[in-house]
Structures are given as structure tokens and as C-alpha cells.
């Protein structure tokens, strides 16, 4: 194979049943066609995994993938995609996380790992400088993340080892179990931790000490990075100071801060959860990811007798603060922080867990779930003490917690169909922390993605509603600001190109926050940067968008093969009814007819038919003709 720049072109295959590890080449053409990350992983998944398999069976593949820019010097090139079939949705499972694990996998000599089979006993995988070994993890099964992380580092004799882990939640296969690296960077949402647990794989430890990633034009790479950071620092920006916690005040102010299980869009006690309170009361320091100048991560420490929070697990961010705060009617950052820690220790998705508990609270207050059914817990909104008890049951998969940790559909089947109207999910995955009744583009970002509702699917409506925000996307044809609640064909078209761009971000593994308006990269500079790293003319902004489009169709096909249909591209009924409470969006709702038209417009733009099935033209257009007749 010819020398590549930015990538080794190496894939590690791990068969846990046979306990065999092998290395194979990733041909250059695959990087050019799929870039890496989510899209290259999905290519392998579609090629190699049969439709209809149980995602928790040995036949299921679990794929970790980076790209040719992961671990290179640019800001935010730290993301690792994990892809497989989701035990939560039954469809395409994709999740991204930052940290250091992705770059370290590259330094260890690989772009990706495909795991198949199932080990008889718990094991972990160690990859150091191109050598992979399967080691026993019997002694780690049942341990919390911190203890496991420490033990593996000690065993391997290298404290700089980066470890992606599952906890009890993954071991016991909660449908929304995460894989967490460095105790605080979560590949969350869709149960990839459960897939890992089903294989008896506790952790993957990576370390590279020898090889330096070759860059095609190192000087050019350095110049691009230096200039971007210099220019970025000259623009006022509060993101480094507050991180995602700025979201509490900002979403409250525009009235889309999900409160009381998405009944309201403002929370009267929001100041108790806001960034300033966070900084004054619980913040120990900020944290960051590989080569990121923003440092948006938070590190919290609490020890006040009632609440104890270990800084090793980082700190709650905006989404978690909504999920266990306003959504559950809890007005205190300390129990929110404990909830965050419980989830991190056991590797459970915070959004899913918090929004599930908010659903329990609403059902309880409406007499649809009883105290007896909740093992004696009174689950009224605002009861933080019982929220934490119930969450602990979910994290350990005990009693009623085991039912709730298997997702809404499972919980509705247990508690009764009448509880379904309060379940705020799409494709069985809970809503993130932005009410789409005031951000209409997010209605599409929640209804349409193959991997379920995603707050990182596109740039949000209020940013694109400003002249400056829209101008950031001029290079991809977004030429004018549109109102946040607009759901016209023009908005759908903007959503389509923006989604394609964001899919492209996940293909190269760049953090969305490292792109303007929050971070140093402009969207045009990403193309220049990729070319400087690889020397390939074909990797540019156009290519990024085209591969993002390709990803939407590939993941759609995955879902069609698994039996998902147009009926799954919807929203919970609540979104079609007026938002209660106060704030700028009070009374707003999504018009059903406009929404249905927007969905059909999106299908048409993608060259999918009325039922959301990709046409043959679409497959040819996206260089996916190898999928003709496959779904």
C-alpha cells in the first residue's frame, strides 16, 4: 500500500469468540469515499452485518472508527465514532465522544477496530504500539468506572494509557448504556455500551509511544492552526468561560428549556441551575479534550455532608442539567451533579435516564404509575431525593430500575399504554434539551435521523436566525437568516445541507464546538486543513458535504433493512400541542400538516421516495450502487 498521510490505513479486527486479533489495511479509496468516523464505520457495518440480527448477540459488530485527521494538530480532532445496531432503537446506532482515546488509538497504530463475537468470560483489549492483546477482566466485572480505569492502568504499568470502559449499566445491558473514555467522555445515547457488555468486553485500553503521524505538509498544517486560533481569539466568545452550561440561560431566555417533562419551555428556578451558580458553587476547574483551546468540559467537586461528587468524573453539562434539573423540576445543581456521577460510574446515558425519570414523574402525578409500582417511591416533580434513588436502581438494573433502563417502549409495555402520551421520544430514544416547538429545525433533527433525536445533528435555528450565524454557512449555500420557528421548504433545504455538513464532521471526527461560532475552524478552513494533512485534492468542503449526504442515505438503508419505516420519522404528540407556561415560545406548537410536508420535502431533496426509501437515482448519485437490491 502507498504511504498515506494523517492515517496508517490500519484496521484491527477482534474476534472475541475465537480470541483472535488480526490487522488489515484500509484502502486509500475507502477514506476518499467515506472519509472515516461514522461513515467508514457504517460502510463496514452494511457490508458485514446481516440484517435482523439481535444487537446483543455475538453476531453483532461493534465498530470504533477515527479518520485521517484524528490526532493531528488541529483543534477538536479528537472524536471517536462508535457504530453498531442499537439495542434501544433497533436501528442504526452511532455515537461520538471527544477526549483523548481517539487520538491515542491513532498513535497506537490504528484508525479503527471491528469487534465481533463474544468472549466466554469478561475481558479487556489492550492495544499498545501496534500490538493488541485480549486480557482477562473477570476481576473488573461489576466495578465502577474509576476503579476499573485505575486497575487497568496499574496492570499495564502505564498511567498514560487511555481507556474506554463500560460500567454496570453496560454489563447488564441497559438499552442506553454508554462507552466512556477517561471517566468523563461519553459515547452515549444508543446503547453501544450494552453491545460491548453483551460481548463480555469491559474495556479497550490504547497507548502509542513510538510512531508520529505523518503529515503531507506539516508547515501548512501548523500555519492553518496558528492563524485560525489567532483569529478566533480576537472574537468575543463566552463558550470557553462557561462551556455548555451557558445553554441553561440561553435556552431559558428564548423559551425552549425543557421543563417538567417538556410541558414548559421555561423553568422558574433556572438561575439555580445556570452557569453563574455553577461557577460560584460547584465548579472546581475546567477540563478539555486533545488539543482543544476551548476547554468546555467542567470538573465538579462537592463534599458537603449530604452530597459527595468526585471530580474524577468531570461534571454535568447542559444536557444533563436539563435532564435531571428542569425536566424533573429539580432546582439544585448538587443532586443534578450526583445524578451525573451515578450515570458516569455505571456508564449510563444521562439524557435518556433523566428524561425517563421525568416521564415517570408526570405519569405518577397523573395517577398512571403508582407508588407501589415504584417500590414505595413518591415520584413527584422536584423530588430530587427520590430521583436519585430511582436513578440508582436504573444504573444497577435492580427492580423497577431494570425496566426503565430498557427504554420507553419496554417501560410503556410494563406500565400501560396510557402512559405513552407522556413519553418524549422518537424511535425509543429520549429528546435532548431543546424544545423543538421554538426551534423548528430541531423538529427535523429529532424526527429524521436514523440514529434518533440528536441535538448535534445540525446548527440550531437561533444561530441561523441571525445574520452573522447564517453567514458562517454561506460557503454551503445558506444565504439568509430564517426565523427559528420557520419550517418552510427553504428551512428544510438549509437543514439538509447543514445536516450533511454535520454528518461530514462526524466522518472526520471534528468536534462541532471547534467550528465557528464557538471554535476556531471556519467551515472552509476544514477543507484546506484536510488537504494539508493528506495531500489529497479530493478532500474538501464539497466532499465533506457529499459524504454527509451519503451517510444519511446509508444509515437510512440500514434502518430500512431493520424494519424501521416512514412511521418512525415522527414526533411525540406533545410537540403538536401548545407549549405551556411562560416565555417567548409559550403557546407555540408544531403544525402537523407543515411538519408532514417538511418530512416529504426532506425525502425528495435526498432523492428518496414518498415512503422515505432511497431511489436508484439516489444510490447512483451517492456512489452507493453497491446497495441496489440490498434493502
Amino acid at each position: 500500500m502507498d504511504k498515506m498521510y494523517g492515517a496508517w490505513g490500519k484496521l484491527l479486527r477482534v474476534d472475541l469468540t475465537a480470541k483472535i486479533v488480526t490487522t488489515e489495511d484500509i484502502p486509500e479509496i475507502l477514506f476518499k469515499r467515506y472519509l472515516g468516523g461514522n461513515t467508514l464505520a457504517l460502510y463496514y457495518l452494511l457490508q458485514e452485518q446481516k440484517a435482523g440480527i439481535d444487537p446483543l448477540s455475538p453476531e453483532a459488530n461493534l465498530i470504533f472508527m477515527t479518520s485521517f485527521v484524528t490526532g493531528t494538530p488541529g483543534p477538536g480532532l479528537s472524536r471517536i465514532s462508535i457504530v453498531g445496531k442499537s439495542p434501544l432503537t433497533g436501528g442504526y446506532g452511532e455515537t461520538e465522544a471527544g477526549g483523548w482515546w481517539g487520538p491515542e488509538l491513532k498513535f497506537a497504530g490504528y484508525e479503527g477496530i471491528i469487534i465481533t463475537g463474544k468472549s466466554e468470560d469478561p475481558v479487556y483489549l489492550s492495544i499498545k504500539d501496534g500490538v493488541a492483546e485480549i486480557k482477562s477482566a473477570k476481576h473488573l466485572w461489576g466495578e465502577k468506572l474509576k476503579e476499573s480505569d485505575n486497575a487497568i492502568k496499574e496492570e499495564l504499568g502505564d498511567p498514560k494509557t487511555r481507556i474506554a470502559l463500560i460500567g454496570e449499566s453496560g454489563e447488564k445491558m441497559s438499552s442506553y448504556a454508554c462507552v466512556i473514555n477517561e471517566l468523563k467522555h461519553a459515547n452515549g445515547r444508543l446503547g453501544m455500551g450494552a453491545v460491548m457488555g453483551s460481548k463480555n468486553l469491559k474495556a479497550i485500553a490504547v497507548r502509542g509511544t513510538v510512531q508520529k503521524l505523518p503529515l503531507y505538509n506539516e508547515e501548512r498544517v501548523k500555519t492553518i492552526v496558528r492563524d485560525l486560533i489567532k483569529e478566533w481569539k480576537e472574537i468575543p466568545n463566552t463558550f470557553p468561560k462557561y462551556g455548555t452550561m451557558r445553554g441553561v440561560r440561553a435556552t431559558q431566555e428564548v423559551g425552549v428549556f425543557p421543563t417538567y417533562n417538556f410541558r414548559h419551555g421555561v423553568f422558574d428556578d433556572f438561575e439555580n441551575l445556570a452557569e453563574t451558580t455553577y461557577m460560584e458553587t460547584i465548579l472546581k476547574k475546567t477540563g478539555t479534550c486533545y488539543r482543544c483551546p476551548i476547554s468546555c468540559k467542567r470538573v465538579v467537586e462537592i463534599d458537603d455532608g449530604k452530597y459527595k461528587v468526585d471530580p474524577a468524573y468531570g461534571g454535568s453539562e447542559y444536557e444533563t442539567t436539563m435532564a435531571f434539573g428542569s425536566c424533573c423540576g429539580v432546582n439544585d445543581l448538587k443532586p443534578v451533579s450526583v445524578a451525573h456521577q451515578l450515570c458516569q460510574q455505571s456508564g449510563m446515558d444521562t439524557i435518556s435516564a433523566g428524561v425517563t425519570i421525568a416521564w415517570v414523574m408526570e405519569c405518577f402525578e397523573n395517577g398512571l404509575i403508582s407508588k407501589d409500582q415504584l417500590e414505595g417511591l413518591e415520584m413527584k416533580f422536584g423530588n430530587s431525593e427520590n430521583m436519585l434513588i430511582l436513578l440508582e436502581k436504573m444504573c444497577t438494573m435492580e427492580g423497577v430500575g431494570a425496566i426503565l433502563a430498557k427504554g420507553f417502549k419496554n417501560s410503556i409495555a410494563h406500565f400501560g399504554e396510557e402512559t405513552a402520551k407522556y413519553a418524549i421520544h422518537v424511535k425509543n430514544s429520549a429528546f435532548p434539551a431543546h424544545d423543538p416547538r421554538g426551534k423548528a429545525g430541531l423538529a427535523l433533527a429529532y424526527a429524521l435521523p436514523s440514529a434518533g433525536p440528536d441535538h448535534m445533528e445540525v446548527q440550531h435555528d437561533h444561530v441561523l436566525a441571525t445574520e452573522g450565524g447564517a453567514a458562517l454557512y454561506e460557503a454551503i449555500g445558506i444565504n439568509e437568516p430564517l426565523p427559528a420557528t420557520d419550517l418552510s421548504p427553504k428551512k428544510v433545504r438549509n437543514f439538509f445541507v447543514n445536516q450533511s455538513l454535520y454528518n461530514g464532521f462526524n466522518a472526520i471526527g471534528i468536534c462541532d464546538f471547534c467550528v465557528r461560532p464557538n471554535g476556531p475552524f471556519t467551515i472552509s478552513s476544514i477543507g484546506e486543513y484536510m488537504q494539508a494533512v493528506t495531500g489529497w485534492e479530493s478532500v474538501n468542503l464539497w466532499n465533506l458535504i457529499k459524504i454527509g449526504e451519503k451517510h444519511s442515505t446509508m444509515s437510512r438503508i440500514f434502518n430500512l433493512r431493520e424494519g424501521l419505516t416512514v412511521k418512525d420519522d415522527t414526533l411525540p404528540e406533545r410537540m403538536f400541542t401548545p407549549l405551556e407556561g411562560g416565555g417567548p415560545c409559550a403557546g407555540f406548537f408544531i403544525d402537523k400538516e407543515t411538519f408532514d410536508k417538511a418530512i416529504r420535502t426532506y425525502y425528495a431533496i435526498n432523492l428518496w421516495d414518498e415512503e422515505g426509501v432511497p431511489t436508484e437515482t439516489c444510490l447512483y448519485q451517492n456512489e452507493l450502487d453497491w446497495l441496489i437490491g440490498e434493502f
Binding site: E234, I235, P236, T238, K241, T244, R246, G247, R249, A250, T251, E253, V254, E317, Y318, E319, P432, A433, G438, H455, M456, Q459, H460, H462, V463, A465, T466, E467, G468, G469, A471, P483, A484, T485, D512, F513, P517, N518, G582, G583, P584, C585
Partner: protein
């Protein structure tokens, strides 16, 4: 005309609502008044009288304005 304004202190805007007197009835003049950096003016989103607004909208006496940099993501 008199209006009240608040926003992000890091951009020069008052943290709590503050009354200001303006010669012109534009949001641009509010930003001018507080010396908001021109680099970010077009990125700010106005909420006027508890309703989503536009940078181009004309202000009225007594309006209550929040100017924020909109939030996106998780």
C-alpha cells in the same frame, strides 16, 4: 426613547436590566450605546418584550430587550 436592556456582560451588555436612553429606535443603536464589539453584533439574537425578535426590528418606547448569543448543541 427609553428602553431597558440586558445581555452578556462579556460583550459589554449589562447583566441585569438597565434603562438606557437612545436617539434611534434600532437594536444597532443599543449595541452602539454599549460598545458591543462589531465582530459579534450580527451574531446576537434579540428577545424583545419576551418574544423572539429580529436585529432589524424597530424599537418602541419602554421595550424590554435581551441580547444573547444563541446557544446550540449539548
Amino acid at each position: 426613547m427609553k428602553i431597558t436592556v440586558r445581555g452578556e456582560p462579556e460583550f459589554g451588555l449589562p447583566k441585569d436590566f438597565e434603562e438606557v436612553e437612545l436617539q434611534e429606535s434600532t437594536i444597532e443603536s443599543v449595541m452602539e450605546h454599549f460598545n458591543v464589539d462589531p465582530k459579534i453584533r450580527k451574531h446576537l439574537f434579540p428577545i424583545v418584550n419576551n418574544k423572539m425578535g429580529k436585529l432589524s426590528q424597530e424599537l418602541q418606547e419602554g421595550d424590554k430587550i435581551i441580547l444573547q448569543s444563541p446557544y446550540s448543541g449539548g
